[in-house]
Amino acid sequence: MENKRLPVATSLLLSALSVAAALGLWQFLATSGTVAPELLASPAQVLNALEEILRDGYRGTTLTHNAAVTLGRCLLGFGLAVVAGIPLGLLMGLQPRAGAALGDIVQFLRPLPPLSYMILLILWFGTGDGSKVALLFLTALPIIASAAMAGVRLVPRARILVARSLGASAPQVVLHVVLPSALPSIFTGLRIALAAAFSTVVAAELLAATDGLGWMVLSASRFLRSDVILLGILILGLSGMALSWALLLAERRLVHWHGRG
């Protein structure tokens, strides 16, 4: 639809106008008395809440602490899943026997809504950080492993044979031929897995936590503090966007050749 593409400046201007209009509507709804103030805080009140929480914290916890705790849990569970999932998926792709032995387990775990087994993890590990990290690990692992396995299937067989005949050892073939060829597919999996882990960590914090951004939103909803809830939603949305951009940047650096000739 090239003929319908707008110039970047026009497009940005329209986006800015649209966001400004939405903010205006929000401010109007919140302050005109159409909606009760405890149901919908105005943008100005949300800013005040941000200032207040940055200064005094929220119910004994600081905002940076809650944000760091949520991101920390998410990245720890996701990181462990990356470390375990990529080799696992490569192994499953390279060794048909390993694929046959582990495939069913991975394929059973993948479509299972993570919060459903959170109940079991809480029974097993208690409500502390252990059960949350295990939950996020199990959320991300099957997605990453499946993506790595699918990536191996895309490696041109000729390339492996060429490397072999040039005398590359098995580890060298995996490291220098298979992994780079599978990387675009692995990154697709990483993006999906990180988004899933981020959604899941917030859900887990709503279910059982004493800190974190999810807990902050839950606690605020009990006290009908819609300003704090909206602030939490804004921070979570921006963090989610930042996480996905960070991964996209990493992908562009690491797989800079993808999509070229």
């Binding site: 639809m1 497009s11 046959a100 809504p113 459903s116 709503l206 999810g214 921006l238 966007m241 996480l243």
Partner: protein, 258 residues
């Protein structure tokens, strides 16, 4: 890279399942793992039989399944339809994209459960907040898929149809829509998975009926046998929902991938 014959691979498949089953029986029968943590196969069977015949907490099991499914289909249906329509427009006209993209891009990576509480405050604790939650979960996923699908329409095909005198509507109906359909259905599949996971999470956090509520309630009474049965049902339903969309995909875009 050793090319084991596919016929022999089933042994590895069956072997791994057998090892898991043996470990399960061994751990529970020996008393190594208390049944509160891991019910034995017998316990699981009894709990499943009991839940099928007696239902769970005054409600037949099928009611819980039906309620969860109804929520999924209503929320997903509304979100996917509107999201697809919006995405098609966003792909077709740049200015529509510019107007809606900021909200879609914000909503898409936002953890769905974050706004559940706000919806509960606004709409009460009935069905409405759950349906709206699922609607909002499906909308951005469907919209982005449809938009990208439209953008992938081959320019040569568009030019050819234009040269042959097709009107804007005909171009949209006969060139753009069929090209975007495979992407739309991939988006629908992704959205359905997200909607299902979100619903189970919502029922766990703030439900009084449905499959998610069932397992969280059983967990409160440390009935891990019932939790296990519930998790199995949730898993199987998830797979069934996904299969359903794959079947639809094969029928609707039978030409894709050829």
């Amino acid at each position: 890279m050793d090319a084991a014959e596919p016929a022999r691979l089933w042994r590895w498949r069956a072997g791994s399942v057998a090892v898991l089953a043996a470990a399960w029986v061994g751990a529970t029968a020996s008393g190594l793992v208390p049944s509160v943590f891991l019910p034995s196969p017998g316990d699981l069977w009894d709990a499943a039989a009991d839940m099928v015949t007696e239902g769970y907490k005054d409600r037949p099991l099928l009611d819980h399944i039906g309620l969860s499914l109804l929520r999924v289909f209503t929320g997903f249906g509304a979100g996917a339809l509107l999201g697809t329509a919006l995405g098609l427009l966003m792909g077709w006209r740049g200015w529509i994209d510019a107007l809606f993209a900021p909200f879609i891009e914000f909503l898409r990576p936002l953890p769905q459960l974050a706004y559940l509480l706000l919806l509960i405050i606004w709409l009460g604790i009935g069905e409405a907040p759950k349906i709206v939650l699922l609607f909002l979960a499906a909308l951005p996923v469907a919209a982005v898929a449809a938009r990208d699908g439209v953008r992938r329409t081959s320019l040569a095909r568009l030019a050819a149809a234009r040269t042959l005198g097709a009107s804007e509507w005909q171009l949209f109906r006969h060139v753009v829509l069929p090209s975007a359909l495979p992407d739309i259905l991939i988006g629908a599949r992704l959205a359905l998975g997200i909607v299902y996971g979100t619903l189970i999470a919502a029922e766990i956090i703030a439900g009084s009926t449905g499959l998610g509520w069932m397992i969280v309630d059983a967990g409160r009474y440390l009935r891990s046998d019932q939790v296990f049965v519930g998790v199995l049902i949730i898993g199987l339903m998830g797979v069934a929902l996904d299969r359903l969309l794959v079947l639809a995909e094969r029928r609707i875009v039978h030409w894709a991938g050829r």
